[in-house]
Amino acid sequence: MNIFEVLRRAETGDYIKEDDFNMKLFTENKKLVAKYGIRCDRENVIVDDDEMADNLFAAALDLCEAMGFLCIDTNRVIRFSREELLLAMETAPKEMLLGEGKDARVMRARRVGDGRKMTVCGGCPGTPLPEELFLPIMMSYAAEPLLDIIIPGSLVKIEGMEVKTGGPLEIRATRQELIWTREAFERYGRPGTHIYAAGESSATALGTLAICNERYMRTTDSHMIPVLSELKTDYIRLARVMTGQEYPAYTTSLMDPIIGGFAGGPEGAAIVGAAAILFATAAYGVQMHCLHAIHNKYVAVSTPEGMWMDSIIGRAFARNAPISILADAWTMTGTGTDELLYETAALAIAQELSCLHTDALGATNGVYPNCSGLENRLFAEVVDAVFHQNMTAARGNEIVRALVGKYRHSFEAPDFGLPFDEVYDAKQIVPLPTWQARYDRVKEELFGMGIEFRF
């Protein structure tokens, strides 16, 4: 649908107060969970129940019809008919080339059993990084050949001055992030690698507008347009739609259904997440989606509820309306710990077997700069193994269960690990022997659990 029609509806749709919209969503969604019999299985987070996946898709369409997409700046509901939503899904690209030249990678809408493995995004989504570590950390990702595309962290200081949301330094910071990310790519001979969600860290329209130039975000990169939780949007988000269309770069949505919030439990959050994908496709015209399950107590996606929610959404779309969905892979713990590697492996298995792609590891839930290339390497290696050994959902569930057992204690008392420069030689960009040894040991253990690494 064209943006002008979306804006028109945002000005003329039916009026509702945001609080009333939230409560209506809660009640409507509760009914749909019951009507469609959606049920979260915390022991088997990889969903292979086709009927339930199809029911989820049907429930999401019902929810879209009942609620509409609220623009909070106008308090008007942007409505789409079922047919408009399905048409938008049908016409969204099923395959695209992200990045340039030899470094470009294909991103596909996955289907169940299509014989293709996921596209792996590496990096540390939006994580605040100190100025002096930004380039070395991005180099640690660029150094990993299995990472197909990369998402940058965010700069919170420039020349020692704090970047303020909406302040002038936001422009400088978003530009500098991309300059350094590209610099990291160049040093490893992959200058054409796609930057996913460029300017992610910019909270206002300033950052997005500032990077629309070949020196920063190229037209072969992408930027991110969030859906406000739950099923809402505003002028800042719609301004990004406008920017993306006219520049034009690729665009990806971001939806963070909150498990335990207005959507209800994991079942309700799954319906809301799927509905958000339908709305973002129709209203934002994005080509990809970034799906981020939020556990209202632990945040992390590595919770059984988070992995299940992503999984059923992945399967629902793969069967009913294929589109590229990148799931966030956020962990409780940080780099330098065994637990981070277990969380990484569990997420990699669950996402690969759920027809999803990944939007990179957010160690410590993206709060501390305790992240590195090595755990991203492990993620990609596990994905590769799971794919090539034709792992079944049942086997995947067994291994994920065992892994959750190994990191479950981290939900209450996470070990945030160490900052990058204490696990990597920040000049040579290689893991320090202690971190390398830990990774080697855990990988050995994972192999023993049935993950047949090819390298």
């Binding site: 605040p128 965010s154 949301t165 909270a203 335990g260 207005f262 439990g265 945040v299 709060v367």
Partner: protein, 213 residues
């Protein structure tokens, strides 16, 4: 009678035909001591919190239960005050909470506001994207004891420093306790601006009460 009390408590997490306030009024009129009703409500709200943590109930349930508790407390206040000899039984802590400029992550702040209310604190929830100076204006208007600043964006944290700086500039340092929290905030950051810190909404209740009472 214990059945009545149990029902009052349960009505917070399992809504009945009558609201907690109505049930409390009936019990009071029936001669149940106000303090016993408060105990029943406290037990109910604790159970609500537990069910929320265990994901049996969700944010809207928490908000509705918190509101029901507040309304029931309003019914009980005159009786409680009379018991305390005509004086307010206890000083009620007042706080202004909002998200720092540029930040619209409101889920955590809404949970915070609900938990604080449930904990017996008067809350003025001023929403998202609030300018540093506005926090102070609202605190002055409300006659607050504390200002709660929430931020999930690291780039909005400098505005917390601004609040502290503006308090000083306006000659109000020490008048309000400043409390910070939200995903982007660490204990170290709070210390660096001389503010209190609450890592979760639940822990924030004690932190704020301890500082203000």
């Amino acid at each position: 009678m214990s059945g009545t009390l149990a029902l009052i408590g349960a009505s917070l997490y399992d809504p009945q035909d009558k609201s907690a306030a109505e049930l409390a009024r009936e019990a009071l009129e029936g001669g149940v001591p106000a303090l016993d009703i408060v105990d029943a409500l406290s037990a109910g709200i604790t159970e609500l919190g537990k069910r929320f943590e265990d994901m049996e109930l969700f944010l809207p349930d928490l908000m509705m239960g918190g509101k029901a508790m507040q309304e029931a407390m309003e019914v009980l206040t005159p009786a409680l005050e009379a018991q305390a000899g005509g004086e307010a039984a206890q000083k009620k802590v007042k706080i202004v909470v909002g998200n720092l400029e540029g930040d619209i992550h409101d889920i955590g702040r809404d949970i915070l506001a609900t938990m604080l209310r449930v904990g017996g604190i008067d809350v003025l929830n001023i929403g998202n994207n609030v300018k540093a100076d506005t926090f102070i204006d609202k605190a002055e208007e409300m006659g607050a004891d504390a200002i709660g600043l929430s931020s999930l964006l690291t780039t909005s944290l400098p505005y917390a420093r601004d609040v502290v700086g503006l308090l000083e500039a306006r000659g109000l340092t020490g008048k309000y306790k400043v409390v910070v929290g939200g995903g982007a905030v660490t204990k170290e950051f709070a210390d660096s601006i001389g503010a209190l810190y609450g890592s979760t909404a639940v822990s924030a209740v004690d932190v704020i009460k301890e500082a203000c009472l």
